[in-house]
Symmetry: C2
Subunit: 212 residues, 2 copies
Amino acid sequence: MLKLYYSPGTCALASHIALIEAGAAHEAVLVSFKTEEQRSAAYRAINPKARVPSLVTDKGVLTETPAILAFIAQSFRQAKLAPLDDPFAFAQVQAFNSYLCSTVHVAHAHGRRGSRWADDAASFADMKRKVPQSMAECFHLIENTLIKGPWVMGEAYTICDPYLYTVTGWLAGDGVDIAQFPKVREHFARMAARPQVKEALGVETPRDAAAG
Amino acid sequence: MLKLYYSPGTCALASHIALIEAGAAHEAVLVSFKTEEQRSAAYRAINPKARVPSLVTDKGVLTETPAILAFIAQSFRQAKLAPLDDPFAFAQVQAFNSYLCSTVHVAHAHGRRGSRWADDAASFADMKRKVPQSMAECFHLIENTLIKGPWVMGEAYTICDPYLYTVTGWLAGDGVDIAQFPKVREHFARMAARPQVKEALGVETPRDAAAG
């Protein structure tokens, strides 16, 4: 059975939703960022990058959200989560997810993970100040040129949708008003209404824990 | 015919090499970073991200190196540039390329593109100082856990190889001694000896231009 290592509030949510959408038998395993469990020797043995998500399969471990999402789509073809028989359309899906991974997630990460790229507290503060601007620029591009609607790739729901939903969920905390991006806002609401999304959120943030 | 927009010294080299490896009829079109041509209205009409590479196909434009590389592998199956019939193995390829794109390239970019993530000159200098460390950390991970040898994925040459070669080529300019990474160094030399790589470099850096 597939095993997904996740932490709430991270990009692992995209893979978690996709597993549920695919109807894939899986177990979701919490990696506690509060106790820095991702840096433990036990977790590093699974994923030397000390990050989430990690997807443990019967062939080995996969990391990196765009790769995990493509794996889920290709392994559960009947769920039709990507245009697998059209190299151009599949590449468009990959391009969108690659942009989220390498540009949008990176812009977001400068708000709290500045120590990856600098050493001075003043630099961290400078980076943090710029997050609302850089995230807004990314979402203007998504709104104006990338999202086709109603889903990211148009009429068909794909592995781009849970990933965009996940990253959109970071906007409020990043100081960006989603109201500037009507298509993105509609997409976020449409996703939030899906039972599969509610199921993933229910697992990641149990009501008791959220209240505690 | 496919048209690849590139600028020398950028990650577009990976897609350029892959096109040649695939035997794909293509035209390589220079986008001059010296004149900031990537920000021109004409180029933004092709790629609103104002970056290279862009691959113009008969179905539309593709961006993002991991997506372009996967498209080349899937469109020219006879070249066997990826394990296309094995979702796990293909996801490993995608995971490697996603890591280069979202972590290694991003670490490198902090040396010269700090204005993407901060505003103060002091922050840019701080970021630039950290590049040798962050790039070395990435390459320790590649050396110790990711590269299988002789090629990235083992015995089979894949779309990971031109991408690793391209990013490895940035190490010297980033102040990182490649000698620390024997497998990566051997891979770099093995790639540099390939006629397809020499051909791509010959197009991107004509001898007259390099001397001028």
